[in-house]
Protein backbone atom coordinates (compact mmCIF):
# COMPACT_ATOMS: atom_id res chain seq x y z
CA UNK A 1 0.00 0.00 0.00
CA UNK A 2 1.24 3.47 -0.79
CA UNK A 3 0.99 5.73 2.18
CA UNK A 4 1.44 9.41 2.87
CA UNK A 5 2.53 10.63 6.30
CA UNK A 6 2.44 13.96 8.13
CA UNK A 7 3.51 14.54 11.72
CA UNK A 8 4.19 17.32 14.18
CA UNK A 9 4.58 17.91 17.88
CA UNK A 10 4.28 21.21 19.71
CA UNK A 11 4.82 22.57 23.20
CA UNK A 12 1.35 24.10 23.34
CA UNK A 13 0.67 27.43 25.01
CA UNK A 14 0.90 26.57 28.70
CA UNK A 15 3.57 23.96 29.37
CA UNK A 16 7.25 24.81 29.59
CA UNK A 17 8.61 21.57 28.14
CA UNK A 18 7.38 19.09 25.57
CA UNK A 19 6.99 15.59 27.01
CA UNK A 20 5.51 14.10 23.83
CA UNK A 21 7.57 12.06 21.37
CA UNK A 22 6.82 10.40 18.07
CA UNK A 23 8.79 8.16 15.78
CA UNK A 24 8.16 7.39 12.12
CA UNK A 25 9.71 4.25 10.64
CA UNK A 26 8.53 4.55 7.02
CA UNK A 27 10.55 1.56 5.78
CA UNK A 28 8.43 -0.67 8.05
CA UNK A 29 5.26 1.45 7.84
CA UNK A 30 5.52 1.66 11.62
CA UNK A 31 4.38 4.80 13.45
CA UNK A 32 4.59 5.48 17.17
CA UNK A 33 3.46 8.32 19.42
CA UNK A 34 3.92 8.71 23.17
CA UNK A 35 2.94 11.24 25.83
CA UNK A 36 5.28 11.27 28.81
CA UNK A 37 4.59 12.26 32.40
CA UNK A 38 6.69 12.87 35.50
CA UNK A 39 8.32 15.97 36.91
CA UNK A 40 11.40 17.84 35.66
CA UNK A 41 12.38 16.50 32.26
CA UNK A 42 11.50 12.90 33.05
CA UNK A 43 8.32 12.74 31.01
CA UNK A 44 10.45 13.41 27.96
CA UNK A 45 12.82 10.62 28.94
CA UNK A 46 9.89 8.21 29.31
CA UNK A 47 8.19 9.03 26.00
CA UNK A 48 11.51 8.98 24.17
CA UNK A 49 12.35 5.56 25.64
CA UNK A 50 8.90 4.32 24.63
CA UNK A 51 9.06 5.24 20.94
CA UNK A 52 12.70 4.24 20.51
CA UNK A 53 12.42 0.84 22.17
CA UNK A 54 9.28 -0.05 20.21
CA UNK A 55 10.92 0.91 16.91
CA UNK A 56 14.07 -1.02 17.82
CA UNK A 57 12.19 -4.19 18.78
CA UNK A 58 10.13 -4.21 15.57
CA UNK A 59 13.17 -3.52 13.41
CA UNK A 60 15.16 -6.25 15.10
CA UNK A 61 12.37 -8.80 14.80
CA UNK A 62 12.23 -8.09 11.06
CA UNK A 63 15.90 -9.01 10.69
CA UNK A 64 15.92 -11.86 13.20
CA UNK A 65 12.56 -13.62 13.38
CA UNK A 66 13.65 -15.63 16.43
CA UNK A 67 13.94 -12.58 18.69
CA UNK A 68 12.02 -13.71 21.78
CA UNK A 69 8.61 -12.31 22.66
CA UNK A 70 8.27 -10.63 26.04
CA UNK A 71 4.82 -12.11 26.47
CA UNK A 72 3.65 -15.33 24.86
CA UNK A 73 1.99 -14.60 21.51
CA UNK A 74 -1.80 -14.62 21.43
CA UNK A 75 -3.55 -17.06 19.14
CA UNK A 76 -6.09 -14.55 17.90
CA UNK A 77 -3.50 -12.06 16.66
CA UNK A 78 -1.15 -12.29 13.71
CA UNK A 79 2.61 -12.31 14.06
CA UNK A 80 3.11 -8.58 13.45
CA UNK A 81 0.48 -7.62 16.01
CA UNK A 82 2.04 -9.95 18.56
CA UNK A 83 5.41 -8.36 17.80
CA UNK A 84 4.03 -4.90 18.28
CA UNK A 85 2.38 -5.84 21.59
CA UNK A 86 5.67 -7.36 22.70
CA UNK A 87 7.49 -4.16 21.73
CA UNK A 88 5.10 -2.13 23.89
CA UNK A 89 5.73 -4.53 26.79
CA UNK A 90 9.46 -3.96 26.24
CA UNK A 91 8.94 -0.19 26.34
CA UNK A 92 7.19 -0.58 29.70
CA UNK A 93 10.13 -2.56 31.04
CA UNK A 94 12.69 -0.04 29.78
CA UNK A 95 10.92 2.89 31.43
CA UNK A 96 10.21 0.99 34.64
CA UNK A 97 13.81 -0.19 34.98
CA UNK A 98 15.23 3.22 34.21
CA UNK A 99 13.05 4.73 36.95
CA UNK A 100 14.17 2.01 39.38
CA UNK A 101 17.80 2.76 38.60
CA UNK A 102 17.54 6.55 38.81
CA UNK A 103 15.63 7.66 41.91
CA UNK A 104 15.05 11.11 40.39
CA UNK A 105 12.98 9.49 37.66
CA UNK A 106 10.59 7.72 40.08
CA UNK A 107 7.02 8.13 38.98
CA UNK A 108 7.82 8.83 35.36
CA UNK A 109 5.59 7.12 32.86
CA UNK A 110 4.14 7.41 29.40
CA UNK A 111 1.20 6.58 27.22
CA UNK A 112 1.79 5.04 23.82
CA UNK A 113 -0.04 4.34 20.59
CA UNK A 114 1.68 2.37 17.83
CA UNK A 115 0.43 1.27 14.44
CA UNK A 116 2.09 -1.10 12.02
CA UNK A 117 0.80 -1.54 8.49
CA UNK A 118 1.50 -4.77 6.63
CA UNK A 119 -0.20 -4.92 3.28
CA UNK A 120 -3.86 -4.30 4.03
CA UNK A 121 -3.55 -5.32 7.65
CA UNK A 122 -3.28 -2.75 10.38
CA UNK A 123 -1.87 -3.73 13.77
CA UNK A 124 -2.59 -1.38 16.67
CA UNK A 125 -1.17 -1.53 20.19
CA UNK A 126 -1.67 1.00 22.94
CA UNK A 127 -1.53 1.85 26.62
CA UNK A 128 -2.94 5.02 28.17
CA UNK A 129 -5.12 7.79 26.78
CA UNK A 130 -3.34 8.71 23.57
CA UNK A 131 -5.60 7.76 20.69
CA UNK A 132 -5.85 6.26 17.24
CA UNK A 133 -8.71 7.42 15.04
CA UNK A 134 -9.74 6.13 11.64
CA UNK A 135 -11.37 8.28 8.97
CA UNK A 136 -13.02 6.05 6.36
CA UNK A 137 -15.40 7.25 3.67
CA UNK A 138 -16.35 10.31 5.70
CA UNK A 139 -16.86 8.42 8.96
CA UNK A 140 -14.55 9.23 11.84
CA UNK A 141 -14.17 6.82 14.73
CA UNK A 142 -11.85 6.17 17.62
CA UNK A 143 -10.11 2.83 17.22
CA UNK A 144 -8.55 2.66 20.70
CA UNK A 145 -10.20 2.62 24.14
CA UNK A 146 -8.74 5.20 26.53
CA UNK A 147 -7.20 3.70 29.66
CA UNK A 148 -8.45 6.53 31.80
CA UNK A 149 -10.65 6.38 34.87
CA UNK A 150 -13.46 8.34 33.22
CA UNK A 151 -13.40 6.17 30.08
CA UNK A 152 -13.59 3.07 32.24
CA UNK A 153 -16.56 4.55 34.08
CA UNK A 154 -18.26 5.25 30.75
CA UNK A 155 -17.63 1.64 29.67
CA UNK A 156 -19.21 0.45 32.91
CA UNK A 157 -22.20 2.72 32.54
CA UNK A 158 -21.35 4.88 35.53
CA UNK A 159 -20.76 8.10 33.59
CA UNK A 160 -22.13 9.31 30.27
CA UNK A 161 -19.70 10.34 27.54
CA UNK A 162 -20.67 13.97 28.07
CA UNK A 163 -20.03 13.76 31.81
CA UNK A 164 -16.66 12.18 31.12
CA UNK A 165 -15.67 14.99 28.78
CA UNK A 166 -16.42 17.65 31.38
CA UNK A 167 -15.03 15.69 34.34
CA UNK A 168 -12.11 17.04 36.35
CA UNK A 169 -10.80 13.47 36.55
CA UNK A 170 -9.80 13.21 32.91
CA UNK A 171 -6.11 13.12 33.72
CA UNK A 172 -6.38 10.07 35.95
CA UNK A 173 -5.07 7.07 34.00
CA UNK A 174 -5.67 3.45 34.93
CA UNK A 175 -2.80 2.17 32.78
CA UNK A 176 0.48 3.69 31.63
CA UNK A 177 3.96 2.54 30.67
CA UNK A 178 6.67 2.46 33.33
CA UNK A 179 4.53 2.40 36.47
CA UNK A 180 4.65 -1.33 37.22
CA UNK A 181 7.01 -4.12 36.06
CA UNK A 182 4.39 -5.40 33.63
CA UNK A 183 1.53 -3.71 31.88
CA UNK A 184 -1.57 -4.94 30.11
CA UNK A 185 -1.24 -3.96 26.44
CA UNK A 186 -4.29 -3.56 24.22
CA UNK A 187 -3.66 -5.02 20.76
CA UNK A 188 -6.02 -5.10 17.82
CA UNK A 189 -6.16 -5.64 14.07
CA UNK A 190 -8.09 -3.92 11.32
CA UNK A 191 -8.40 -4.15 7.59
CA UNK A 192 -7.24 -1.02 5.78
CA UNK A 193 -8.97 0.35 2.72
CA UNK A 194 -7.70 2.79 0.13
CA UNK A 195 -8.39 6.36 1.18
CA UNK A 196 -8.31 5.57 4.92
CA UNK A 197 -6.67 8.17 7.14
CA UNK A 198 -5.26 7.13 10.53
CA UNK A 199 -4.71 9.70 13.26
CA UNK A 200 -2.37 9.09 16.19
CA UNK A 201 -2.57 11.85 18.77
CA UNK A 202 -1.85 12.81 22.35
CA UNK A 203 -4.66 14.09 24.59
CA UNK A 204 -3.36 17.60 23.92
CA UNK A 205 -5.15 17.32 20.57
CA UNK A 206 -8.19 15.20 21.46
CA UNK A 207 -9.11 17.38 24.44
CA UNK A 208 -8.70 20.68 22.60
CA UNK A 209 -10.15 19.88 19.17
CA UNK A 210 -13.46 18.08 18.65
CA UNK A 211 -13.73 14.89 16.60
CA UNK A 212 -15.77 16.71 13.97
CA UNK A 213 -13.14 19.39 13.57
CA UNK A 214 -10.33 16.84 13.32
CA UNK A 215 -12.28 14.96 10.64
CA UNK A 216 -13.14 18.07 8.64
CA UNK A 217 -9.52 19.24 8.78
CA UNK A 218 -8.42 15.89 7.34
CA UNK A 219 -11.06 16.08 4.60
CA UNK A 220 -10.08 19.61 3.62
CA UNK A 221 -6.34 18.97 3.23
CA UNK A 222 -4.73 16.90 0.51
CA UNK A 223 -1.31 16.97 2.13
CA UNK A 224 -1.01 15.11 5.41
CA UNK A 225 1.75 17.44 6.63
CA UNK A 226 -0.35 20.54 6.08
CA UNK A 227 -3.28 18.80 7.83
CA UNK A 228 -1.01 17.96 10.80
CA UNK A 229 0.21 21.58 10.94
CA UNK A 230 -3.37 22.84 10.91
CA UNK A 231 -4.46 20.48 13.71
CA UNK A 232 -1.62 21.73 15.93
CA UNK A 233 -2.62 25.30 15.11
CA UNK A 234 -6.25 24.56 16.09
CA UNK A 235 -5.22 23.00 19.42
CA UNK A 236 -3.20 26.12 20.20
CA UNK A 237 -5.99 28.46 19.10
CA UNK A 238 -8.30 26.71 21.58
CA UNK A 239 -5.87 27.22 24.45
CA UNK A 240 -3.05 24.73 23.85
CA UNK A 241 -3.28 23.60 27.47
CA UNK A 242 -1.01 20.61 26.96
CA UNK A 243 1.72 19.43 24.63
CA UNK A 244 0.09 18.44 21.39
CA UNK A 245 1.26 15.81 18.93
CA UNK A 246 -0.24 14.23 15.87
CA UNK A 247 0.82 11.64 13.31
CA UNK A 248 -1.34 11.28 10.19
CA UNK A 249 -1.12 8.32 7.83
CA UNK A 250 -3.18 8.12 4.66
CA UNK A 251 -3.54 5.02 2.52
CA UNK A 252 -3.29 6.45 -0.97
CA UNK A 253 -5.75 5.18 -3.53
CA UNK A 254 -4.08 3.08 -6.21
CA UNK A 255 -4.53 4.46 -9.70
CA UNK A 256 -7.00 2.18 -11.43
CA UNK A 257 -5.53 0.26 -14.39
CA UNK A 258 -7.40 -0.73 -17.53
CA UNK A 259 -7.86 -4.32 -16.41
CA UNK A 260 -9.25 -3.19 -13.06
CA UNK A 261 -11.73 -0.92 -14.83
CA UNK A 262 -12.92 -3.76 -17.06
CA UNK A 263 -13.24 -6.02 -14.01
CA UNK A 264 -15.19 -3.44 -12.13
CA UNK A 265 -17.47 -2.96 -15.11
CA UNK A 266 -18.02 -6.69 -15.36
CA UNK A 267 -18.43 -7.07 -11.63
CA UNK A 268 -20.91 -4.34 -10.91
CA UNK A 269 -23.96 -5.56 -12.85
CA UNK A 270 -23.44 -8.99 -11.29
CA UNK A 271 -23.38 -7.51 -7.79
CA UNK A 272 -26.58 -5.54 -8.08
CA UNK A 273 -28.55 -8.70 -8.86
CA UNK A 274 -27.50 -10.19 -5.51
CA UNK A 275 -28.12 -7.05 -3.52
CA UNK A 276 -31.59 -6.53 -2.11
CA UNK A 277 -30.82 -2.80 -2.14
CA UNK A 278 -30.92 -2.77 -5.93
CA UNK A 279 -34.23 -1.93 -7.64
Amino acid sequence: MRIQVGARTDLGRVRSNNEDSFKLVPELDLFILSDGMGGEAHGEVASHLAVESIAAHCQESGQKPDVPYLVSPRQDLNEKTNRLASAVQLANKMIYESAQKHPAQRGMGATVVAIWINDQRLSVAHVGDSRVYLLRSGEFQQVTDDHSLVAEQVRRGILTKEQAESSDMQSVLIRALGIEPEVQVDADEHLLMEGDVLVLCSDGLSRMVSDIEIASTLLSHNGMQSAADRLIELANEYGGEDNVSVVLVRVEPRPEGLLARVWRWLNEPLQTTTSPGGN
Binding site: I158, V172, E180, L191, L270, S275
Partner: protein, 262 residues
Protein backbone atom coordinates in the same frame (compact mmCIF):
# COMPACT_ATOMS: atom_id res chain seq x y z
CA UNK B 1 -13.39 28.23 60.96
CA UNK B 2 -14.01 24.59 60.10
CA UNK B 3 -13.11 23.55 56.60
CA UNK B 4 -14.30 20.80 54.30
CA UNK B 5 -11.63 19.39 51.99
CA UNK B 6 -12.91 17.52 48.95
CA UNK B 7 -10.50 14.81 47.89
CA UNK B 8 -10.30 12.20 45.21
CA UNK B 9 -7.60 9.69 46.04
CA UNK B 10 -4.63 11.82 47.10
CA UNK B 11 -5.74 14.80 45.07
CA UNK B 12 -7.29 17.79 46.82
CA UNK B 13 -10.03 19.12 44.57
CA UNK B 14 -11.56 21.84 46.66
CA UNK B 15 -11.64 23.45 50.08
CA UNK B 16 -14.73 25.10 51.46
CA UNK B 17 -15.00 26.99 54.73
CA UNK B 18 -18.18 26.42 56.72
CA UNK B 19 -19.69 29.82 57.45
CA UNK B 20 -23.10 30.78 58.80
CA UNK B 21 -24.80 29.13 55.78
CA UNK B 22 -24.91 25.35 55.39
CA UNK B 23 -22.50 23.88 52.85
CA UNK B 24 -24.38 21.72 50.36
CA UNK B 25 -22.86 18.68 48.69
CA UNK B 26 -24.31 17.01 45.58
CA UNK B 27 -24.25 16.40 41.89
CA UNK B 28 -26.29 19.45 40.83
CA UNK B 29 -24.32 22.57 39.87
CA UNK B 30 -25.97 24.72 42.55
CA UNK B 31 -24.15 22.88 45.34
CA UNK B 32 -21.26 24.48 47.21
CA UNK B 33 -19.36 21.25 46.70
CA UNK B 34 -20.34 19.74 43.40
CA UNK B 35 -19.37 16.12 42.73
CA UNK B 36 -20.00 15.22 39.14
CA UNK B 37 -20.70 11.52 39.42
CA UNK B 38 -23.89 9.55 38.89
CA UNK B 39 -23.41 7.79 42.22
CA UNK B 40 -24.00 11.13 43.93
CA UNK B 41 -27.55 12.45 44.33
CA UNK B 42 -28.34 15.94 43.04
CA UNK B 43 -28.57 17.24 46.62
CA UNK B 44 -26.80 14.56 48.58
CA UNK B 45 -25.88 15.98 51.96
CA UNK B 46 -25.12 19.20 53.83
CA UNK B 47 -22.81 20.34 56.58
CA UNK B 48 -23.62 23.20 58.91
CA UNK B 49 -22.55 24.70 62.21
CA UNK B 50 -25.06 24.29 65.05
CA UNK B 51 -24.17 25.99 68.28
CA UNK B 52 -20.53 24.95 68.66
CA UNK B 53 -20.90 21.72 66.75
CA UNK B 54 -20.42 20.84 63.11
CA UNK B 55 -23.28 18.68 61.83
CA UNK B 56 -23.53 16.48 58.76
CA UNK B 57 -26.97 15.61 57.45
CA UNK B 58 -27.74 13.18 54.64
CA UNK B 59 -30.53 14.55 52.44
CA UNK B 60 -32.14 11.17 51.73
CA UNK B 61 -29.50 10.43 49.13
CA UNK B 62 -29.88 7.33 47.00
CA UNK B 63 -26.51 5.77 47.77
CA UNK B 64 -25.99 7.09 51.26
CA UNK B 65 -23.41 9.13 53.14
CA UNK B 66 -20.69 7.45 55.15
CA UNK B 67 -18.53 8.84 57.94
CA UNK B 68 -15.45 6.77 58.76
CA UNK B 69 -17.10 3.87 56.89
CA UNK B 70 -20.34 4.06 58.91
CA UNK B 71 -23.53 4.92 57.09
CA UNK B 72 -25.03 7.99 58.70
CA UNK B 73 -28.21 10.07 58.59
CA UNK B 74 -27.22 12.91 60.91
CA UNK B 75 -24.03 13.05 62.86
CA UNK B 76 -21.74 15.47 64.70
CA UNK B 77 -18.40 15.81 62.97
CA UNK B 78 -15.00 16.02 64.59
CA UNK B 79 -11.47 16.81 63.46
CA UNK B 80 -10.17 14.36 60.86
CA UNK B 81 -13.53 12.70 60.10
CA UNK B 82 -13.76 11.32 56.59
CA UNK B 83 -17.06 11.62 54.77
CA UNK B 84 -17.43 9.26 51.81
CA UNK B 85 -19.83 10.34 49.09
CA UNK B 86 -19.78 8.25 45.94
CA UNK B 87 -16.07 7.75 45.45
CA UNK B 88 -14.99 11.14 46.76
CA UNK B 89 -13.91 11.90 50.29
CA UNK B 90 -14.57 15.04 52.26
CA UNK B 91 -12.12 15.48 55.11
CA UNK B 92 -13.02 17.63 58.11
CA UNK B 93 -10.52 20.21 59.26
CA UNK B 94 -11.94 21.92 62.35
CA UNK B 95 -9.26 24.58 62.12
CA UNK B 96 -8.88 24.86 65.90
CA UNK B 97 -7.14 27.88 67.37
CA UNK B 98 -4.04 25.91 68.25
CA UNK B 99 -3.69 24.55 64.76
CA UNK B 100 -4.50 27.74 62.97
CA UNK B 101 -0.98 29.15 62.67
CA UNK B 102 0.30 25.84 61.36
CA UNK B 103 -2.22 25.66 58.56
CA UNK B 104 -0.59 27.87 55.96
CA UNK B 105 2.52 25.72 56.12
CA UNK B 106 0.55 22.50 55.94
CA UNK B 107 -1.16 23.75 52.83
CA UNK B 108 2.11 24.04 51.01
CA UNK B 109 2.42 20.28 50.93
CA UNK B 110 -0.16 20.27 48.22
CA UNK B 111 -1.46 17.10 46.69
CA UNK B 112 -0.83 16.82 42.94
CA UNK B 113 -3.09 19.00 40.87
CA UNK B 114 -5.57 17.04 38.86
CA UNK B 115 -4.41 18.70 35.66
CA UNK B 116 -1.18 16.78 36.08
CA UNK B 117 -1.61 13.30 34.69
CA UNK B 118 -1.57 10.71 37.42
CA UNK B 119 -1.68 6.95 37.17
CA UNK B 120 -3.42 4.61 39.56
CA UNK B 121 -1.53 1.44 40.34
CA UNK B 122 -3.26 -1.92 40.02
CA UNK B 123 -4.35 -2.10 43.64
CA UNK B 124 -5.75 1.43 43.74
CA UNK B 125 -7.45 0.89 40.42
CA UNK B 126 -9.20 -2.24 41.62
CA UNK B 127 -10.32 -0.60 44.84
CA UNK B 128 -11.58 2.43 43.03
CA UNK B 129 -13.46 0.57 40.36
CA UNK B 130 -14.94 -1.75 42.95
CA UNK B 131 -16.05 1.27 44.89
CA UNK B 132 -17.51 2.88 41.80
CA UNK B 133 -19.27 -0.35 40.91
CA UNK B 134 -20.64 -0.70 44.38
CA UNK B 135 -21.97 2.82 44.26
CA UNK B 136 -23.71 2.74 40.91
CA UNK B 137 -25.46 0.05 38.95
CA UNK B 138 -23.66 -1.46 36.00
CA UNK B 139 -25.86 -0.89 33.03
CA UNK B 140 -25.34 -0.77 29.34
CA UNK B 141 -28.19 1.69 29.08
CA UNK B 142 -27.72 5.13 30.62
CA UNK B 143 -29.56 5.85 33.84
CA UNK B 144 -33.06 7.22 33.35
CA UNK B 145 -33.32 10.97 33.59
CA UNK B 146 -33.98 12.46 36.99
CA UNK B 147 -31.33 10.58 38.90
CA UNK B 148 -29.23 7.49 39.07
CA UNK B 149 -30.84 4.15 38.35
CA UNK B 150 -31.64 1.74 41.14
CA UNK B 151 -34.26 1.83 43.82
CA UNK B 152 -32.72 0.37 46.93
CA UNK B 153 -31.29 2.93 49.27
CA UNK B 154 -29.47 0.67 51.65
CA UNK B 155 -28.33 -2.47 49.84
CA UNK B 156 -25.19 -2.10 47.81
CA UNK B 157 -25.69 -3.05 44.18
CA UNK B 158 -24.26 -6.53 43.56
CA UNK B 159 -21.23 -6.70 41.27
CA UNK B 160 -21.79 -7.32 37.58
CA UNK B 161 -22.78 -10.85 36.61
CA UNK B 162 -19.83 -12.91 35.36
CA UNK B 163 -19.59 -13.01 31.57
CA UNK B 164 -21.31 -15.96 29.94
CA UNK B 165 -18.93 -18.87 29.43
CA UNK B 166 -16.85 -18.70 26.30
CA UNK B 167 -18.58 -19.90 23.21
CA UNK B 168 -16.96 -19.82 19.82
CA UNK B 169 -18.50 -17.67 17.17
CA UNK B 170 -18.86 -19.59 13.94
CA UNK B 171 -19.83 -18.75 10.39
CA UNK B 172 -21.68 -21.55 8.65
CA UNK B 173 -21.73 -21.24 4.86
CA UNK B 174 -25.28 -21.69 3.59
CA UNK B 175 -24.68 -20.87 -0.05
CA UNK B 176 -21.77 -19.89 -2.28
CA UNK B 177 -18.33 -21.12 -3.25
CA UNK B 178 -15.83 -21.10 -0.37
CA UNK B 179 -12.92 -23.33 0.64
CA UNK B 180 -14.64 -24.64 3.80
CA UNK B 181 -18.24 -25.07 4.96
CA UNK B 182 -17.68 -23.68 8.43
CA UNK B 183 -15.27 -21.17 9.95
CA UNK B 184 -14.46 -20.52 13.60
CA UNK B 185 -14.04 -16.80 14.22
CA UNK B 186 -11.10 -17.14 16.58
CA UNK B 187 -9.04 -14.19 15.35
CA UNK B 188 -9.37 -10.49 16.12
CA UNK B 189 -9.69 -9.86 12.41
CA UNK B 190 -11.36 -12.22 9.96
CA UNK B 191 -11.31 -11.25 6.29
CA UNK B 192 -13.79 -12.55 3.73
CA UNK B 193 -12.50 -12.44 0.14
CA UNK B 194 -10.15 -13.83 -2.45
CA UNK B 195 -6.99 -12.25 -1.01
CA UNK B 196 -4.22 -14.32 0.58
CA UNK B 197 -4.98 -12.74 3.93
CA UNK B 198 -8.61 -13.88 3.81
CA UNK B 199 -9.67 -16.56 6.29
CA UNK B 200 -12.96 -17.13 4.54
CA UNK B 201 -11.68 -17.73 1.03
CA UNK B 202 -14.05 -16.98 -1.79
CA UNK B 203 -13.62 -18.82 -5.07
CA UNK B 204 -14.63 -17.50 -8.43
CA UNK B 205 -13.48 -15.20 -11.19
CA UNK B 206 -15.17 -11.99 -10.14
CA UNK B 207 -14.93 -12.29 -6.39
CA UNK B 208 -13.41 -9.26 -4.62
CA UNK B 209 -10.02 -9.51 -2.88
CA UNK B 210 -11.55 -8.35 0.38
CA UNK B 211 -15.32 -8.46 0.40
CA UNK B 212 -15.92 -7.76 4.09
CA UNK B 213 -14.29 -8.03 7.50
CA UNK B 214 -15.32 -9.24 10.93
CA UNK B 215 -13.69 -7.75 14.03
CA UNK B 216 -13.75 -9.54 17.36
CA UNK B 217 -14.03 -7.04 20.19
CA UNK B 218 -14.60 -7.28 23.91
CA UNK B 219 -18.25 -6.48 23.37
CA UNK B 220 -18.91 -8.87 20.50
CA UNK B 221 -18.33 -9.51 16.82
CA UNK B 222 -18.73 -6.71 14.30
CA UNK B 223 -19.02 -7.04 10.56
CA UNK B 224 -17.82 -4.15 8.43
CA UNK B 225 -17.75 -3.37 4.74
CA UNK B 226 -14.62 -3.62 2.62
CA UNK B 227 -14.81 -3.73 -1.19
CA UNK B 228 -18.45 -4.78 -0.83
CA UNK B 229 -21.18 -3.81 1.57
CA UNK B 230 -22.66 -6.92 3.19
CA UNK B 231 -26.28 -7.36 4.14
CA UNK B 232 -27.28 -8.66 7.55
CA UNK B 233 -30.77 -10.19 7.61
CA UNK B 234 -31.47 -8.52 4.30
CA UNK B 235 -30.41 -5.01 5.40
CA UNK B 236 -27.36 -3.32 3.91
CA UNK B 237 -25.10 -2.38 6.82
CA UNK B 238 -23.89 1.15 7.53
CA UNK B 239 -20.43 0.81 9.02
CA UNK B 240 -19.44 -1.82 11.58
CA UNK B 241 -22.50 -3.73 12.76
CA UNK B 242 -22.75 -6.03 15.74
CA UNK B 243 -23.63 -9.61 14.90
CA UNK B 244 -26.23 -11.53 16.87
CA UNK B 245 -26.84 -15.24 17.10
CA UNK B 246 -28.63 -16.49 14.00
CA UNK B 247 -27.85 -13.46 11.79
CA UNK B 248 -27.82 -14.23 8.07
CA UNK B 249 -25.04 -12.45 6.18
CA UNK B 250 -24.82 -12.10 2.42
CA UNK B 251 -21.78 -10.66 0.68
CA UNK B 252 -20.25 -11.21 -2.76
CA UNK B 253 -22.71 -13.98 -3.54
CA UNK B 254 -22.00 -15.95 -0.36
CA UNK B 255 -24.63 -16.57 2.29
CA UNK B 256 -23.46 -17.24 5.84
CA UNK B 257 -25.14 -17.92 9.16
CA UNK B 258 -23.56 -16.44 12.30
CA UNK B 259 -23.94 -18.76 15.30
CA UNK B 260 -22.21 -19.47 18.62
CA UNK B 261 -21.05 -23.02 19.23
CA UNK B 262 -20.01 -24.53 22.55
Amino acid sequence: MPKLILKFEAAVLKEVTVGPRPVSIGRAPDNDIQIDNLAVSSHHARVFAEESRLVLEDLNSLNGTFVNNQKVQRVNLKQGDQILIGKHHVVIDMGGAAEAPALPDAKKVAAPKVEETMVLDTKKRKELLQQALGAAPVAAAPAPSGGPAGHDKTQPVPPAAPPPRARVATLVIMDGNTDQREYLLSSKLTVIGKSDMATIKLKGWFKPKVAAQINKRDDGYFIGPADKVPTVNGQLIHGPTKLNEGDMIVVAGVKMNFVFKD
